[in-house]
């Protein structure tokens, strides 16, 4: 310990508060007067490990903070259940199968069937529309566009992912509704023999509008996650495909897509999670109906989350409990979706580490 190896560390780490005392290690008691003079190793006994040290405290504090996440997840389940149970006990209908939602009556009766159906249907529409487009854009950004275009475009996509959902909802209701209505009328005129596009109107504030708005919202998220996955494709695998005489698309199909598949599945699942839980955009675009219908273009539609936002203001005690019960179902669904997505990502990570 003759010289001061700490100098270089000091200079790289900025304002490092390593005091000279620490730099001398154990056993040296006095404080150094001069940096040029090499400190001597002490002859005394090594200091004992302190039982209650700052170290232990800090470690405990950060462990507790980490554990907080688990506490919160458990607390969410516990508190939602505790508030939902009284309402479920007061329910005179069947919570799982009934369409109607009338928890504020003196004989409360409510069921989640129609709401859950609307949630799933709107999310499916959103994914069916958004995923192919999002993957195309992600491929465009990662493998087709010149870098000069891909960088700013990727930046814009990231920004769009940050736009609040209430803005998309407002746009869907004030602007997008009109072209969707025109399109619905056109579909109804020529394709009413398909049950999806039947009905007598009015059209517009339909599950299709809600689903499309959701699609536009999910698009940036799925795009930016899958772009990242595609960009991680090892360059040497792409070169291997090209050296075998692959065209660009064949290179993408042989090297990029198989490599990115688990990541893309996870991105889609995360997008699904986002779509299932989306509240405000659907509350603004759907016109409330408690019904199970595959008609995509007629006014109507509902979702668990949108119903919570819409019905909350008029809810009494049981009403609130009923909404919380529906939220519990939503929580459970999204938990399953997210855990599946994460499990896929984790497996992929192990696989990648093993392959490297």
């Amino acid at each position: 310990m003759g010289d001061y190896p700490s100098r270089s560390v000091n200079s790289t780490a900025g304002d490092l508060s390593v005091t000279p005392r620490h730099a001398q290690g154990a056993g040296y008691g006095g404080s150094p007067s001069n940096f040029d003079e090499p400190p001597r190793g002490g002859g005394g006994a090594l200091p004992k490990k302190a039982r209650f040290s700052i170290e232990a405290g800090f470690r405990g504090l950060s462990t507790a903070s980490g554990a907080m996440v688990l506490v919160i997840i458990v607390a969410i389940a516990v508190f939602l259940i505790s508030k939902a149970v009284p309402a479920l006990q007061a329910n005179t209908g069947n919570f799982l199968t009934q369409f109607e939602w009338a928890p504020n009556d003196t004989q409360p009766s409510f069921g989640i069937a129609a709401l859950a159906f609307g949630t799933v249907l709107s999310s499916i529409i959103a994914l069916v529309v958004a995923v192919p487009i999002a993957l195309s854009i992600a491929l465009f950004l990662s493998h087709y566009a010149p870098k000069r275009l891909a960088t700013p475009l990727g930046f814009v996509i990231d920004l769009l992912a940050a736009v609040p959902s209430v803005v998309f909802g407002l746009w869907g209701r004030d602007v997008f509704q009109e072209p969707v209505r025109d399109f619905s009328i056109w579909l109804n005129k020529y394709f009413s023999w398909i049950p999806l596009f039947g009905g007598d109107g009015p059209f517009g504030q339909s599950i299709m509008l809600g689903g499309l708005v959701l699609a536009i919202m999910v698009l940036p998220i799925v795009t930016s996650l899958s772009r990242e996955v595609f960009q991680q494709t090892p360059g040497m695998n792409e070169e291997a495909a090209l050296a075998l005489g692959a065209t660009r698309w064949e290179m993408v199909r042989t090297a990029v897509l198989p490599y990115g598949k688990p990541g893309v599945i996870a991105a889609v699942m995360l997008g699904l999670g986002r779509a299932l839980g989306e509240t405000i955009a659907l509350a603004l675009t759907l016109s409330v109906a408690f019904d199970i219908s595959f008609n995509l273009i007629e006014n109507g539609g509902n979702s668990v989350a949108a119903n919570i936002a819409n019905s909350f203001a008029e809810a009494n005690d049981t009403g609130r409990g009923a909404l919380i019960a529906s939220g519990l179902v939503l929580f459970a669904i999204t938990l399953v979706v997210n855990m599946t997505a994460r499990a896929i990502i984790y497996r992929r990570r192990e696989f990648r580490d093993a392959a490297a």
Binding site: T63, G169, R320
Partner: protein, 361 residues
């Protein structure tokens, strides 16, 4: 001559068959013209739609025609390559249209009420026939709620990340990491319901003579629940980027681990951590559902986050959107523009900061 060449001609390349014909530009243009002409004839001839349908059908005919003709001239594989390329480009155009429309509407409609009055007044005593009214109270609410949420979630989140990176070993750490990831996907409305049942319905009556009470603080709690996993995740990623030798250098000098973390690791990762926090803040500022459930919204200015209903900018947009007054949509759009500006400034600043970050993957 090999078996391969005998069975599947055209696979084995020799210097004599490496040349291929490319599609002349004139043919390309001719296909385009033909496609749109056919589309127009079909649409107007059968009277089944307007110009929008002509454009859509024409584009579809063009892509199909181009690929059939190109396939004849250039070969099957080149045609497939071209088809996928055109589909990918088409998808980009298709996606840009609505997104551009959102931006355009936001600016053109939002500019209507973008006046001093909007930022100086609240909605107190504004009736359905009054064109005035502003979002001052909502801006105050957003800033307070997001500020308090940040104060709560940042220390927790950063410490949690420190646990995961520096101390966490074994099964417990893996569990925590897994649930941090899962928690990022919890819908905001569920976070709102959680704080509703926990804080508003159970805790707040203790302070309010047994009556449940909405408050800005409750909204901050809900936002903190949403921000926490995002902050843990981004901070964890940044801490992992701090080079190991930097830590070892400090350990080798006898610096205790907690001090190494606080004085070496955190400062090095700081720009990245701040970026993550700003992105979390931006996302929280745009959340509507939890605020609706636990802060309740209000028309008047309320500076006290613990004292009763409070408004927020996003909730203001939602409530104005549902308001019957003919002046409400203008207010909603201007508030939306303000909200987007706030969120985008935070996001852009965070991304620029991230670009200057010296630690990179």
């Amino acid at each position: 001559m090999s078996l391969l060449d005998r069975e599947v001609p055209g696979v084995v390349m020799t210097p004599d068959n490496i040349r291929s014909r490319t599609l002349p530009v004139a043919v390309n243009l001719a296909i385009a013209a033909g496609a749109f002409a056919v589309a127009a004839a079909v649409v107007f001839g059968l009277a089944i739609g307007n110009w929008v349908l002509v454009v859509v059908l024409g584009a579809a005919f063009y892509l199909v025609g181009l690929n059939v003709v190109a396939g004849r001239i250039e070969g099957r594989r080149a045609a497939r390559d071209r088809a996928m390329k055109s589909l990918i480009y088409a998808a980009c155009v298709l996606a840009i249209l609505p997104l551009a429309s959102v931006v355009w509407t936001l600016v053109s409609k939002g500019i209507g009420r973008l006046d001093a009055d909007f930022f100086n007044t609240s909605m107190n005593n504004i009736g359905a026939r009054d064109p005035e009214g502003g979002a001052y109270h909502a801006i105050i609410g957003t800033l307070e709620q997001v500020g308090i949420a940040t104060l709560m979630s940042v220390p927790l989140g950063v410490l949690g990340a420190i646990y995961l990176v520096e101390y966490g070993r074994g099964k417990f750490a893996t569990t925590v990491r897994f649930f941090v990831d899962v928690m990022t996907g919890i819908p905001s409305i569920v976070a709102g319901l959680f704080i509703l049942s926990f804080w508003v319905l159970i805790v707040s009556p203790w302070f309010n003579n047994g009556q449940p009470r909405f408050s800005g603080f409750a909204a901050a709690l809900a936002l903190a629940v949403l921000m926490l996993p995002t902050i843990v995740r981004s901070t964890e990623e940044m801490l992992r980027l701090v080079p190991g030798p930097l830590r070892e250098g400090a350990y080798a000098l006898g610096v205790p681990q907690w001090k190494t973390i606080l004085s070496v690791v955190l400062p090095t990762a700081l720009p990245g951590i701040v970026t993550g926090i700003m992105l979390a803040v931006a996302r929280a500022a745009g959340e509507t559902a939890p605020v609706l459930l636990v802060a309740g919204g209000a028309a008047a200015i309320n500076f006290d986050p613990f004292g009763g209903n409070q408004q927020s900018l996003s909730l203001f947009v939602y409530q104005q959107a549902g308001d019957a007054s003919r002046y409400a949509p203008d207010r909603a759009w201007t508030a939306a523009l303000t909200l987007v500006a706030l969120v985008l400034i935070l996001t852009v600043a965070a991304k620029l900061l991230a670009r200057r970050n010296k630690l990179s993957r």
